[in-house]
Symmetry: C2
Subunit: 143 residues, 2 copies
DNA sequence: TCATTTGTAACTATTGTAGTTACAAATGAA
DNA sequence: TTCATTTGTAACTACAATAGTTACAAATGA
């Protein structure tokens, strides 16, 4: 199976930051919710910062915050930040002397491109706000 | 990155069988086109046979054939045969004591389900015949 | 001044996959 | 009937991606 959990963790982190908009959270606090090591969190947050989805401050009372409203963070941006390699991979060296082998890559590229674009479009239909609201629906109300 | 090449190899195999409809091909012949080991090919063909996309015969003059016309083999069936695990994976154990951690999985499931379904739908728009025709377009004509 | 926190390098352990070897069972041709 | 061919599958090795961990310099604010 695919062992890459970074996309799921990234959405988890962003949802947590969205739930506590007035504070900045440390990687240790976030790690406690995700149940992993703070360095794993910082690695993922580093990627999210490259896409300008979060900002950080070092030092005492430092931590992480969203750069914009959760309703303005679409999950396709998170995908772009975290999923570097294609989900559908090519085989490396088909036989160039075979009529099929010599042209299978460009033919597959067309198909894979469209398939991944379809997933991308589907993810653009969700925001961090949507995930947060879904969780608040599942969470029993408290006083 | 995703190192799983089986989906790409499976489409390669099916396209090759489609290109030579009147013969059955051995795993060794197919392996020569894919440029890999025959056992790798047989493993993938075994999965394709479970979905009834190909049939095999053991022994002398045995080999593999498609069970139907290439225009009747949609790439979503190949996906179903080969991609067992979800492309978008969950993180294993978010903190059940955290309001976000305790509900992130069902919230993500909704999103991931739709994203993968979108990819599946895109793949259902292509058949092995489409891939073969694309390759024959790329292949310079011969006499 | 100092505790806190990020940023990052380096390392280990685990897991999934490709590739390989080996061989029993099936099968058809001679 | 014999035998070369081929599938089907188990067992193994090698490699690559990732999660998790340790360590520590640099930044920062109390």
């Amino acid at each position: 199976m695919n062992t890459n959990q970074q996309f799921a963790v990234a959405i988890h982190i962003l949802t947590l930051l969205a739930a506590l908009p007035d504070q900045s959270l440390t990687s240790a606090q976030i790690a406690a919710s995700v149940n992993t090591n703070p360095v794993v969190i910082r690695r993922i947050l580093g990627q999210l910062r490259k896409q300008n989805l979060v900002e950080s401050r070092s030092g005492a009372s430092g931590g992480w915050k969203l750069t914009r409203a959760p309703s303005q963070i679409h999950l396709c941006s998170v995908y772009d930040a975290l999923i570097r390699a294609a989900l559908l991979g090519m085989h490396p060296h088909p036989n160039p002397g075979c009529p099929i082998g010599s042209h299978i890559h460009p033919a597959l590229e067309k198909v894979f491109e469209q398939a991944e674009q379809a997933m991308h479009n589907a993810l653009s239909g969700f925001t961090v706000q949507d995930v947060l609201l879904e969780i608040q629906t599942l969470e029993p109300a408290k006083e």
